[in-house]
Structure formats: C-alpha cells, structure tokens
C-alpha cells in the first residue's frame, strides 16, 4: 500500500498532471524565447534607419510584431493562466466531493489561491518589465517620455484577472481569452489614455486619477454589459429577451390559434433561422451600450486633446475620434461568432427540419450573413457617435470614408472565417479564428491611421478587397463543409 502523502502535495500535483498547465508553461517559455529572438530581428531590420539618425522605427511589420509579442503576450498569458486555474478549480469544487469528502475544501482552496497569487505577482512583474522596456503599440503616449509604475502594472493585472475569473465563474473558461482583444479595442485611442493615466502614469493628479478610476470601472462595466448581451443562455435580462419572435405565441391558453402557415422561400427561411440565435433588439442594444461608452470616454478626452504628449502622438489628425471605427470592423465578428457557437448543440436537431442538407447549409450561411450585416450597421453607427457629436466634418475625410468602406468589406472575411470555423465546436478554434480576424482588421487599419501612414485610402480599400475575397472563398468552403459535416 502506498504511504499516505500530504494532501496539499496531492492537490498541487493535480495541477502538474493536467496537460493544459504543462502546455501553458511551455507557451510561457516559448514566448520568452520568441520575444528575445524577434527583438533581435527587429533591431537588425531597423538598423539602417537608426544609422541615419531617425529616432522612430520604420519597419512597421517587425515593430508591430515585437510590440505585439512583448506588450500583448503577457496579457494573453495572464488571462490564459486564470482561465486554466478557474476551470481546474471549478472541476474540483463543483460537485458533491467538495461537501462530503473530509478535509477536501481547504487544501483545494488554499493551493488555488497560492497559484492565483503567483500569477498575479509574476504577471504584474512581467507586464511592468515589458512596458518599461518598450511601449505597447495599442497604448499611445506611454513609455517614450513618461514613466510607468509597478503599482499600475499590478492594478492592470488584477483587473484582467478579475474579469477572466468572473467570466470563468459562470461560463466556460476559455472564451475569457477574448477579454484581452476586447479590452485592447476599448483601450484604443481615448480609452487608453484614461487607463494609462489612472494606473500607469506617475504624474497624474489625485482628482484626475480618481475620475479616471471611475471611468475605468465604467469601462469594465461596459465590458460586462457587452459580454452579457453576447451570451444568450441565461444571460439576457427579461426586457431584452425578445428571442427573435415578437408576436405572441399562439399557444397561450384562451387565444384562438392561427392557421398554420409554413415558411417558404430561401430568404424568409434564412431570416426565420436567425430567430433561433438572435433577439431582434440585441445588436442595437449592444450598439447603444457601446455608443454610450464611447461618448462618455470622448467627453473626457476632448477637453485634453491639446495636451503635449497627446498632440505629439496623434498630431492634429482627425483619427483621434475615429480610431473607434476599428470597433465596427471587429465587434460584429466577435458577437456573431460567440452567439453562433452557442447554437452548435441544436444544429443536428435543426438539420432534420424539412430542407435538404444543401438548403440547410445555404440558409445557415445566409442567416449568419444577415446577423453580421445587422451587427455591423449597429456597431458602425455606435462607433461614429463621438465623431458625429464632436467633429461631424471629419466624416468627409477620405481616410474615414475609406475606413468605413474597408470595414464593410472586411465583414466578408469575418463571414467566411466564422462560417468555416463554426463547423467545429472547439473553443480553441473559435479563439484562434477571432484572434486572426482581429489582426486582419487591426493591421491594415493601424497602418492607415499611423502617424506615418503605410497605407493610403485606396490601398486600404484594396487590402480590404483582398481580405474580403479570401473571406468569400472561406465562406464557400464553409458551406461545402456544412453540407457534409456530421452533427450532434
């Protein structure tokens, strides 16, 4: 018989034995090595520019990659670790064992807390080091002429961990990785400055900091609302719960039943299929929340737009208020992908409704395209709210018009990629797809809005057309896949 070991050691071993933690350790090591090597590559690539005496870096691609790795990598790793910890703890504590097994609870809770503390400490330190070494690409105005504080890094780490843990506590843990890109989107331009000044910059006054901490909390609240509106089952409160069917059900007692009318025609059936995933008001409720958030943020930002380092970073470009256009390119993809994933379990059942497999696949694709279109329209209007209020004239700027057009065309890529990826219910596939879509939208937009633009409006549209064409190809492949796909 095996000698009895310490319970705490046994609990700790459950972490070591779980493959996901081994993979994460491997990923952290790989991230460190990759950062080091890519940093060297970036230095070499930019060497000629430095030799000519330029202080700015000009190789955009390598610079974005190195800054992405160094700046965003720690955020993803922190959230991934929290997601893994939460999912491990949930498995250990959710059933009867936690209540009925003697001396079960304390070791599991204490070891879990120790690991959380380790992630918080290591994450904060890693984040602080990465910011102090090199500024984030998404957080303008930091690093070059301002200092950063370790306390701020701790605060940001804890905020991310709290969000990830909160999400993981009631839903599957891994989609919490999407918190990072969603945070980054909200941290573009205006929001970023608030977060930076609230937590990272050492020269912010007390009153200013207090106001901005309040706004950061509102930011997190906005994220909460966004997540709530995206997650259907058990998520939406009663007033939002239209479930797509406005008319009263005819099955209520005492009401005469309507004569049965079947849905005929491709588009009417496709529109009918949308009702299973999307409440009619959802995109507009989400857009209203987003518009309100952006307006609130811009309200604070506009009064400060002439401060020294903001001007230095953005110059006089109208992009200050319109960087949020990126939201319109990205948010619909995130929303539709998550909502459609929730529907996966019912696809098999629904495929048996009268329609051939080919019709079923085409109707699903059309329903998803309509969802995406409505989300894009709603989000675009929301993203334009600050510009409409503060500087309506900039809407005639060629770059803004090109961005709007590009954002619309990029939805084709979103459509194709999501339809293709939706064939599998695997969470990791969804996360990889959405991350790729974020980059596919963010890179050309960032290049166009950069202080030294690498893309002019025409090139931005051409890039979007190339991406959109790729999306159409993916979409067609997705429809073919859905025709043959085994369903549960």
């Amino acid at each position: 018989m095996r000698a009895r070991r310490n319970r705490y050691v046994d609990v700790m071993l459950t972490y070591a034995q779980r493959p996901v933690f081994r993979w994460l350790v491997l990923l952290i090591c790989a991230w460190g090595v990759l950062c080091y090597w890519w940093f060297s590559v970036n230095t070499l690539v930019n060497w000629p520019w430095r030799q000519r005496g330029y202080s700015m870096r000009f190789s955009f691609a390598t610079t974005v990659l190195v800054e992405g790795l160094v700046g965003i990598g720690p955020l993803f790793l922190i959230v991934a670790l929290v997601a893994a910890l939460m999912s491990h703890l949930k498995e250990q504590l959710r059933d009867w064992r936690a209540v009925l097994t003697p001396r079960y609870l304390a070791p599991h809770l204490i070891i879990g807390a120790v690991f959380f503390a380790m992630v918080a400490c290591a994450g904060s330190w890693g984040l602080y080091q990465s910011i102090a070494e090199d500024p984030w690409p998404y957080l303008p105005g930091v690093g070059r002429d301002t200092g950063v504080s370790l306390l701020g890094a701790i605060a940001v780490t804890l905020a991310l961990m709290t969000l990830a843990a909160w999400w993981s506590s009631f839903r599957s843990a891994w989609p919490s990785l999407l918190i990072v890109p969603l945070c980054l989107l909200l941290m573009t331009s205006q929001s970023a400055l608030i977060i930076l000044k609230a937590f990272l910059l050492v020269d912010a006054g007390r009153v200013e900091t207090a106001i901005r901490i309040g706004l950061l909390l509102a930011d997190i609240g906005g994220l909460y609302l966004l997540a709530r509106s995206l997650c259907r089952p058990g998520g939406l409160a009663e007033p939002f719960d239209t479930a797509g069917i406005r008319r009263r059900s005819t099955w209520n007692s005492g009401e005469p039943r309507r004569e049965h009318v079947a849905c005929v025609g491709f588009w009417s059936r496709a529109a009918h299929r949308r009702q299973a995933v999307l409440g009619r008001g959802t995109p507009w409720i989400m857009a209203a929340a987003l518009g309100g958030l952006l307006f609130g943020v811009s309200l604070l930002y506009v009064g400060q737009s002439q401060s020294h380092h903001i001007k230095w970073e953005f110059g006089e470009r109208p992009s200050d208020l319109t960087a949020s256009l990126l939201l319109a390119a990205i948010v619909p993809a995130v929303a539709v992908a998550i909502i459609w994933r929730e529907r996966w379990a019912t696809f098999g059942y629904e495929s048996l409704f009268p329609a051939s497999r080919a019709e079923f696949a085409a109707e699903l694709a059309a329903a998803m395209a309509l969802d995406l279109l409505e989300f894009w329209a709603a989000t675009t209007i929301a993203a334009l709210i600050p510009a409409l209020i503060w500087a309506p004239g900039i809407l005639l700027d060629p770059l803004i018009l090109a961005s709007l057009l590009a954002s619309a065309i990029i939805q084709l890529l979103n459509f194709g990629a999501i339809l293709f990826a939706a064939q599998s219910p695997a969470l990791m596939g969804l996360i990889v797809t959405l991350s790729a879509l974020l980059l596919a939208a963010a890179i050309p937009m960032s290049m166009a809005f950069h202080e030294r633009p690498a893309l002019n409006p025409s090139q931005l549209i051409i890039t979007a057309i190339i991406e959109g064409t790729g999306g159409l190809v993916l979409g067609l492949a997705g429809i073919q896949g859905w025709r043959r796909r085994e369903l549960v």
Binding site: L236, S249, S351
Partner: protein
C-alpha cells in the same frame, strides 16, 4: 414526390467506427406499420445506429435509406415525413415553449395544432415556460410533442421515456400506441426500459458490441427463449451441456439452463440422457436481454 415504399428505413451493411468499431456490418429493414425497439447495453451502438439512419453521422461503410433516399442526403419532402426525439434534448433554452413550437412549425408544410394543444394540456407543458428553466422530463415531453406535431410517417425516438415520470410515461406509451394503430406509421425507438418495449414493440433488435445479436418478432423471441430447471437424481457432471444453451449454471444435481429454442425434442433428450426432471420457465424481456448479453460475453 417520394414513391411510397414498404420499408421507410433500410440499413445495408452499415459500419461505423469512432477510433474503435461502434457498428459492424449492420443490415436491417423496417416495414411500414411496425414498431421496432432497439435494445442494448450502454455503448452497444444504438444511438450511433439511429444517428446514421438519420444522416447525422456518416457511415464508414454501407448505407442507410430513409423513404428510399440515402440518409446523408435526404430531401425536404422526406424530412417532412420524419420525426425524431434525440436522447439529449438540445432545444433553444432561451425560448419559451410556445415560441419554440411556433419557430419549428414554420418549417413544416403540415402541422397538427390540435394535437399539439391536446398534448400540451395532457402532459402539463406550459407554453409560457422558458425551456431553460424546465425540468429534464418536461423538456423531453416538449421534444416529443415537437416530433409528433407534423404527424410523421417515420418516428425515431432515442431513449424517449428515460426521463419521464411513470404517469407521463404511461401517457407517452398510450400516444405511441395510438400512432402505431395507424398502419401507415412506423416507429423506431431505443430504450433500456424493457417493460416499455414489451408493451408497444412488435419487433425487437438487440445490439451487442455493435452487432445485431437478435432481430425478429418480440413474441416469437419470448415464445422460444426459456429457462430450464433441470433436477437429476444424481449430481450432474461438470461437462453437462445442453445444445443451444445460452447459459448453464450447475449446482449438485440441479442445473439452470437458458436456451433459445426450448423444443419438446430437446426436453425429451435431457430427460432421457440424464434421467432428470425438467421444468420450463417463461422469461420476461429483461431476463431474455440479460441472457443474450451473457451469452455474448461468454
């Protein structure tokens, strides 16, 4: 227009593997008007066979034909004649029952609203209740109502009564019997509840390790399969064996033998060879199932 066929479901040499073989060379045909029950242990392949028959899973070999069409590419007209209740009811949890009924009805050219209203009332499913908040049993009742509402000619039910309370199960079986009374309807269902099968099925398929261990009339099986109580004057030898025995348990001068075909010839032979008295006992379906399973494992 689909040509009428005597067999709404035909399965031809169907095999399916998920890493290991789940179904091996299954062939069967289900004639119109029959009530076929699938019986098998967990993991025997019942659900996989049903999923292949519906086109939800693709067989590795062989094929399934529903109304003479390949199950993997059923037309809308064929699906309109097909009803299915899955083992795990994946309904839209955010909808209310009435909303789901309206949503589903819109896809079907034919929908019996009176039947739906009657079943909702009899089975106490409230249209205003949100599906996510329903009990598992109520959700299953709703799934059954959805499957019956368009009056399918082929109704496939995967463990339909497992989560129903006794009263609802009785009502459900009554409904199945009513449907079965229509000669144009065919019902296929898998279950672990052998008493349900005995009540409604006229034909039985027992699956064991992905193969058909028995396929035939339920009554014929019950008539032929018996347990023999053999009592000899002297202790029975260890090598005591009865031809066609599924299981033999010997203890002293007594033996219990389960046989598939308890003919008078067999009984006479045991009596004469061992000078033993033989008492014949009828078996219920549960006992028959256990004997068949034991024979397979032995």
């Amino acid at each position: 227009m689909i040509a009428t066929d005597d067999c709404p479901l035909r399965i031809e040499s169907l095999s399916k593997a998920y890493g290991r073989p789940v179904l091996e060379d299954i062939s069967l045909s289900v004639p119109t008007g029959s009530v076929l029950g699938f019986l098998g242990k967990n993991g025997a392949g019942k659900t996989t066979l049903i999923r292949c028959a519906l086109g939800l899973a693709r067989p590795d070999k062989g094929r399934a034909l529903v109304f003479n069409e390949p199950a993997t590419s059923l037309s809308a007209a064929a699906k309109a004649r097909l009803g299915y209740v899955p083992q795990e009811t994946s309904l839209y949890t955010w909808m209310r029952a009435g909303q789901l009924l309206d949503y589903t009805a819109a896809f079907y050219p034919r929908w019996n609203s009176d039947l739906v209203a009657k079943l909702l009332s009899e089975w106490e499913v409230r249209p205003d209740d949100r599906i996510g908040k329903m009990s598992v049993g109520t959700r299953h009742k709703l799934a059954i109502i959805l499957a019956l509402a368009h009056e399918p000619q082929l109704l496939i039910l995967d463990e339909p009564a497992a989560s129903l309370d006794p009263a609802a199960r009785r009502e459900f079986l009554k409904t199945v019997l009513t449907i079965a009374a229509d000669e144009n309807r065919t019902i296929i269902f898998s279950t672990h509840i052998t008493s349900d099968l005995e009540r409604v099925a006229d034909r039985l398929v027992i699956l064991r390790d992905g193969k058909i261990a028995y396929d035939g009339e339920l009554d014929a099986l019950k008539d032929s399969m018996k347990r023999l109580h053999v009592t000899a004057a002297a202790p029975l030898p260890a090598e005591f064996a009865v031809p066609g025995a599924l299981r033999t348990q010997i203890e002293g001068n007594e033996a219990l033998v389960s046989v598939r075909d308890a003919s008078e010839d067999l009984l006479a032979r045991i009596r004469s060879e061992h000078g033993a008295a033989v008492r014949v006992e009828d078996l219920n379906l549960e006992e028959i199932f256990l004997e068949v399973q034991h024979a397979g494992e032995a």
